[in-house]
Amino acid sequence: MRAPPRSRWPLGGLLLAFPLAGCHSAGRGFFAPRGPVAAADAHLFVVVAILMAIVVVPVFILTPLFAWRYRLGNAASPYRPKWDFSWPLEVLIWGVPTAIVISLGIILWRDTHRLDPYRPIASSVPPLQVQAVGLDWKWLFIYPDQHIAVLNELAFPADRPVHVSITSDTVMQSLLIPQLAGQIYAMAGMTTQLNLMADSPGQFIGENTQFNGMGFQNQKFTALALSPDDFNQWVARARASNTPLDAGEYAKVAEKSSVKQPVYFSAVQDGLFRQIIDHYHPVRTP
């Protein structure tokens, strides 16, 4: 019997297991999903990884196997120094990856549309409208229908879709709540959109992932999925803060700073979000 291959394969297998191990950790990433989008993403991740394994696993096995079996010292193995082509193998090594990429491509096309962040999440309840403004180094969330605003806390009713319109009043940023939905950039003078939903009440981490300066690492916020009653109370609490967010107050908020605790604003000047965007288009042709 041949000596067992001194292989790198166990190592390789371990590595494959590493990212997948995340699936079962009670973490705060999308492998611990708390909303339909993140759950679909976690599932998609596993599907893609398994399909890829069809190409990857043979490499893990064959590399040490071939290297050891055809080592110089092993006179028992055949040696064909001039063999350099085989049509059946050629068909196989082009065909299998092509087939996998075609299947992945079909899945990709379907899921990119299904999980498009711009696509409203199907629900019997109309989505809650939130406007997010990326600032240095905090997030301002404006609730146009509730006429309140809050720094570094995004509360919403669980089991109800949330539609977030996003812009930035500084450099580019990126809004991510890993357990709920993927990220979208925030850019000054422009609006991007993100639809998300939480299945049940809970508290999640939200963050900016795009480096934007010295307070970048502190730019975290709490996403709070609440029961409808709790949400109403939360809104009431914000209204009770008695600090209206007008142009003067906004100018102060927009200055560079980090915010440790959420700051609530009891009223918001109408159209503030639009003004923040239009600020970068002084001459807007109708």
């Binding site: 893609v48 350099d84 090594i93 992945l104 450099v171 993927g182 480096f211 010295m214 970048f216």
Partner: protein, 687 residues
């Protein structure tokens, strides 16, 4: 920064003593190290009296071999700095969990920016350019590249950029905008310091040098091949060099344009990428990645070429599926221009656009997968020898497919929304660049080193280095996949989740082991130089090589080939050895005309760096003088008619006779003993 006034401002621009790095002990120490290092090198060379030697034999040389070696020296120096920076960042993240750590955000931001910029532009690019420079002309049977002086100019422009990077450590602060320098953050409004200017001009010098290199290599491969060396007979390394050159020619200009427009924003108050006044940073993202994605393949393709050479040579077998590999390489080169948008799936494009670019990205997986299987089948029914270059190649194959898998994950837009901008992405591209690019560069360095210097590298230290690079890579980057899936953003100076601690500690240990890998390479070099007399392989063929580069002495004579060889098949030298036609002198020797040394490259490189330095600090006289010197040199040089020297036939005959005599008198080595002192560079023929 205090304003300087009057004559001082004219002389020194914005440069004041405030530019010295006293804001942080670590930065001041690093700056001190650079200054002391530079002074010691200067003193040492003076003390040894080697300035004249360096000037005539190296700095002004237009010999592709010398230029190749100098490129790789730049790569190793810059790698040392950038790897130490990586270790600092890993230590910072491991200790800065709910605590500020020891690096302030400002310093941390500079570190990830210089680390990335250096590793891409001043480590990876010089390394691969150096290898191609050294090997490709030898492989196609040429005496030099087609434009030898241009080659020297490219080298010195890259050197100038690298020098500017080192100066930025001493004077002023570097950009904190990352290696991709995204505006508006790097615009004047948000980054008023000199940092982004350093980045812009260092990268511009390098990208201009690289564009010229691409033109040079492509021309050399199209027009400089020996008779009979048809394109489909070229070694695969030449094919990957060709594809890389084509990518350089077409991909570097968008970068030069992007950095130039950013410079116009910063210097002249224009609004290409600003927030207001009609500027739009999305244009920058598109321009940058129009360069940035092909750049990935500029980096990886030469490494693919190295693996093809190494695996075939150390399996004592023809490369499996040559045509397939050529097609795959070309396919990758073309497809690389169709996928740039996957770097910003999250910028709010429609699902149709994201899906189209996602599928285009996945398509690249097909030729890449084919290549991996072609290398596996090259080992199949071969005689595999586990030398360090081969070990690196094997580790590459296994590790690279992991990176390929995570690459496909990132190419799937919904998954990219989740892990984009997190350390998952950092783990992915390091997975492609360390086992992919760097293992290839190290394998190539170990494989061709005996050719370049005439003695083999120490095997034991090669294996130790291999162990460190492999173990270090897995420990440093596998944890980042996990943390990225957990949503940890990249570029975080401080971390707030204690659950990350064990992973970050493992990653830190990995970074130290990677540093040990680099140190092992230096020890290997030191030990090998000491033992060089017993490890000489002057006969020139220590690995039973297959390409023409092994058919000449080690090191090769200045003119490479006494007579330009005639090629009749692939694996030319292997065929010659088989047919007993190797080591046959030509009937007569002829005078050989070679390009003369020229100082033009040095002058242009230094002037370019001076111009850039002047631009950074607004020292306008220096910039103008630099520009005038560059143009002046080009004009003066165009009037120089006496640019060739002749190596007389008698000298060639003497050199060749000495070598052929040696070949006739050394004992051929069987493959089993190739790593022992018995290896004198003559391969035993396998009958």
């Amino acid at each position: 920064m205090t304003e300087t006034r009057g004559v001082w401002h004219l002389l020194l621009g914005n440069l004041t003593y405030n530019a010295l790095p006293f804001y942080s002990a670590i930065a001041a120490f690093a700056a001190g190290l650079v200054v002391v290092g530079a002074i010691s090198v200067f003193v040492l060379i003076t003390w040894l009296g080697k300035w004249r030697y360096l000037w005539t034999e190296w700095f002004t040389s237009v010999d592709h071999k010398r230029i190749g070696v100098m490129y790789i020296i730049i790569a190793f120096i810059m790698m040392s700095r950038a790897l130490i920076e990586a270790v600092l960042m890993r230590v910072q993240q491991a200790v800065a969990i709910n605590s500020p750590g020891f690096l302030p955000p400002d310093h941390f931001g500079q570190l990830f920016s210089t680390h990335g910029t250096i590793m891409i532009f001043f480590m990876a690019m010089p390394f691969l350019t150096g290898l191609i420079n050294y090997v490709m002309p030898l492989q196609i049977g040429a005496r030099d590249v087609k434009f030898p002086l241009l080659n020297s100019i490219s080298l010195w422009l890259t050197g100038g950029g690298a020098g500017l990077m080192m100066v930025s450590l001493v004077l002023g602060k570097f950009s904190t905008g990352g290696w991709s320098g995204y505006p508006p953050y790097t615009g004047i409004e948000f980054s008023p310091g000199v940092g982004p200017d350093y980045w812009i001009w260092a990268v511009s010098l390098s990208s201009i040098g690289t564009t010229l290199t691409g033109l040079n290599f492509a021309t050399t491969i199209y027009k400089g091949r020996a008779p009979g060396m048809t394109l489909m007979r070229m070694p695969l390394f030449c094919w990957t060099s060709l594809c890389t050159s084509i990518l350089m020619i077409f991909a570097m200009p968008p970068l030069t344009v992007a950095t130039a427009l950013l410079a116009l924003d910063r210097y002249l108050g224009m609004h290409f990428f600003t927030n207001g006044m009609g500027g739009n940073m999305m244009n920058y993202a598109n321009l940058f990645w129009l360069f940035g994605h092909p750049e990935v393949y500029i980096l990886i393709l030469p490494a693919f070429g190295v693996y093809s050479e190494v695996i075939s040579a150390f399996s004592s077998k023809r490369l499996y599926g040559y045509t397939s590999l050529v097609c795959a390489t070309m396919a990758i080169a073309i497809l690389s221009f169709t996928v740039w948008l996957h770097h910003f799936f999250t910028m709010g494009q429609s699902a149709n656009i994201n899906a189209a670019f996602g599928i285009a990205t996945m398509t690249i997986g097909v030729p890449t997968g084919v290549k991996v299987y072609d290398w596996l089948l090259t080992m199949f029914r071969g005689r595999v020898r586990f030398t360090p270059p081969m070990l690196f190649s094997l580790a590459f194959i296994v590790s690279f497919v992991i990176g390929g898998m995570t690459g496909i994950i990132l190419a799937t837009p919904p998954l990219d929304y989740m892990v984009h901008n997190t350390v998952f992405l950092v783990a992915h591209f390091h997975n492609m660049l360390i086992p992919g690019l760097l293992y290839g560069m190290i394998a190539g360095y170990q494989y061709w080193f005996p050719k370049a210097f005439g003695f083999r590298l120490n095997e034991t230290w090669g294996r130790i280095a291999f162990g460190c690079w492999v173990v270090g890579f897995y420990l440093a980057f596998m944890p980042l996949y996990v943390l990225g899936a957990e949503g940890m953003p990249r570029r975080s100076q401080e971390v707030f989740d204690t659950a990350y601690r064990p992973w970050l500690l493992i990653a830190m240990i990995g970074a130290f082991i990677l540093l040990a890998g680099l140190v092992s390479l230096f020890i290997q070099l030191r030990v090998s130089i000491r033992q060089r007399d017993s490890n000489r392989v002057f006969a020139g063929d220590p690995w039973d090589g297959r390409g023409l580069e092994w058919s000449v002495s080690a090191p090769p004579p200045e003119y490479n080939f006494a007579a330009i060889p005639t090629v009749t098949s692939r694996d030319t030298f292997a065929g010659q050895k088989e047919r007993g036609q190797a080591y046959h002198p030509p009937k007569t020797y002829q005078d050989i005309e070679m390009p003369k040394n020229s100082a033009a490259g040095v002058v242009i490189g230094i002037s370019g760096a001076a111009c850039a330095f002047g631009l950074v600090w607004h020292i306008w006289w220096m910039s103008i003088l630099g520009l005038i010197l560059i143009w002046g040199t080009v004009i003066v040089r165009s009037f120089v008619r006496d640019i060739y020297k002749v190596i007389p036939a008698a000298d060639v005959a003497r050199t060749e006779a000495r070598w052929l005599n040696h070949v006739a008198n050394v004992r051929p080595v069987p493959r089993e003993l190739e790593t022992t002192l018995a290896n004198k560079g003559l391969a035993e023929s396998v009958a």
